[in-house]
Symmetry: C2
Subunit: 373 residues, 2 copies
């Protein structure tokens, strides 16, 4: 059976909860009243989708999700627009990536538009819990786990696709706060022939220890380097962008690593690239997806050609960078005078927020899923 | 609180199950009546260990094991000896490796000997279910998962260590059956600076798709190659050994890849190396942990210098290899005339079985944990 949103079975909580005050929202710590679950078996395909009260799963200790990391997830957000509707941002990109992640670890694919409809129906149940205000949103976490019982290492014949949602506040509560990164070459996040471009659980747990080690030395996140060239790939759990300015031509370049199989295909990354190509004058700017190294960053910083740098991801949208520890030195990344970010970082954040909160239309990037009027 | 076996709380099933006939045992498909669980919190450390009826876990959908692969496991076996005792094989090695795996993903460490004692007590409860006969054993699966609720990516502050056991039969029911491997360079199992030397769930799910692709072409497993040199690293989920014979000197060499951080530190690998060094005459044999490539295997096969090859792991102990697909050709690996393995493969299997089933003593490799007399 293929995934069919029209068959959804809805069981509502008896007493809907009240929205928490905005200042009590912590990322991914509290969830809305309902969740979406859909079971899959190799025999029968996708079962009837269920929207039901948020609650625990009961799983056998031999379930393959506990042993062999048959698990993947997505992260996207829904926003309360100025006219009091709920809008999802680029859900089609997340669904496509989720299917790619699933295929890579032999978990089932699904009809993408049906899952978007189901997430819409889930949000509709809890729409009063979507917080209001710039920077506030509903974080949506689609997840798929293998649920085959037994310790043989093989293709799962059972899976559970589920979606939980968490009302969240801005990543930076009191405006941007630029971070210090440690350029990391002793630990490797992703490699050619690996799975670093997929949103698998497997890519996350191994990154915590290097982060703790960086934190001990006073850096908040790792700037992940790759290979003997020390290519810059990602920062923490985000994609990363640098801006250089050619001191001879005066032309600026926005650079990020190319999607070569080691880089997560970030939806925010894609949005930044597309908006930059549309909005920045090509007389003044080049937008590049190319390899670049920590050596280039160091060299161009020394020449005064490093303009700014930021991470990009769904949680923070953009995350400005102020310093990079490398080889015993700190490379200083410029910020706007008296501010905690660069000019483009700020501009990109505005471009994206305008679309997310419905103040500007952009192609088919948003989809209204509920109406609070 | 540190892990303390003496505090264990035992709740027995009401009706112990009867042993299944040996011919119905399938690896990791059926489990004994009891399991061991120990909860850990950052605040209080290890809680009271519990041995209780095997049963489901109840976990929050936001639990970090489902999203970020905070999970690791071990695999070891207990054997029914000729004098009707139950003996565990090299459990200390597995406990040490388990702690290394846990440390790598910021899960808690534990007192190794206490966990061995607890596993012994678990086996004691179900000792009548340990099957009898050469090749039969009780497979033991210690597992640790992060159980922190919430979607922030960070060090788990809650974990669950648990052990389940499964009565198993010989990997090869009717004697050895040599396998065909596909030498795989397009997918990469492990990388320097990665976690391929740890027994993390994260290393397993990504390996299924390449195995299915190899199976489509008629090969049972992947022979994992690494780097531009195409070094041979592992086979499927096992370590791998090759035997070469120098046609000038007549001397044989048993070769496996060195533990450079990309190779699982297999207990069977270690046992094979140690027993080979002890038992093989150094006039006739060299035992090497060194880099070697698929090119060397191809070249030496062409010269008639390839003698045999086998995988090594807890489940199969040794797994003979008969053919390796590479570059559109099949490299033939010799087998004993009319048999499905090479001479050393057979010998190694006997050496190890003699110790496991208590027919020979070897240092402190075995520990009696129960007595059926």
């Amino acid at each position: 059976m293929s995934l069919d949103a029209s068959k959804v079975k809805v069981t509502r909580v008896e007493t809907p909860s009240k929205p928490r005050p905005n200042d009590e929202l912590v990322f991914g710590q509290t969830f809305t009243d309902h969740m979406l679950t859909i079971e899959w078996t190799a025999d029968k395909g996708w079962d009837v989708p269920e929207i039901k009260p948020y609650g625990n799963f009961s799983l056998d200790p031999s379930s393959c999700v506990f042993h062999y990391a048959f698990e993947l997830f997505e992260g996207l957000k829904a926003y309360r627009t100025a006219d009091n509707k709920i809008s999802m941002f680029r859900a089609d990109k997340n669904m496509a990536r989720m299917n790619k992640s699933a295929a890579r670890i032999c978990l089932p694919n699904f009809e993408q538009d049906e899952l978007i409809k189901l997430i819409g129906k889930l949000i509709e149940q809890d729409k009063h819990l979507v917080p209001e205000g710039q920077g506030y949103s509903l974080y949506i976490r689609p997840t798929m786990i293998g649920t085959t019982n037994g310790l043989g290492v093989g293709t799962p014949d059972r899976a559970l696709l589920y979606v939980i949602t968490s009302p969240v506040g801005p990543y930076y509560k009191t405006g941007f706060k630029a971070v210090r990164l440690e350029a990391t070459d002793y630990a490797t996040r992703a490699w050619p022939g690996g799975v670093g471009d997929k949103k698998l659980g497997a890519n996350y747990a191994p990154c915590i220890l290097p982060q703790l080690q960086a934190a001990k030395r006073g850096y908040q996140q790792n700037l992940w380097l790759f290979g003997p060239e020390k290519n810059i790939t990602e920062v923490g759990t985000m994609n990363v962008f640098f801006v250089f300015k050619d001191s001879k031509t005066g032309k600026k370049e926005l650079v990020t690593a190319p999607l070569d199989g080691t880089i997560l295909e970030g939806v925010t990354r894609d949005s930044v690239l597309e908006l930059a190509r549309e909005n920045l004058s090509s007389d003044e700017w080049i937008v590049s997806e190319r390899y670049y190294t920590i050596g280039e960053v160091e060299e161009r910083a020394a020449k005064g050609e490093l303009v700014e740098a930021f991470g990009s991801g769904t949680a923070a949208v953009v995350s400005p960078i102020k310093e990079i520890g490398w080889n015993g030195n700190d490379i200083t990344v410029p910020l706007l005078p008296g501010e905690q970010c660069g000019a483009l970082t700020k501009q990109v954040a505005e471009w994206i927020a305008d679309i997310q909160y419905g103040r500007k239309e952009h192609k088919d990037w948003t989809r209204i899923v509920a109406d609070l009027n």
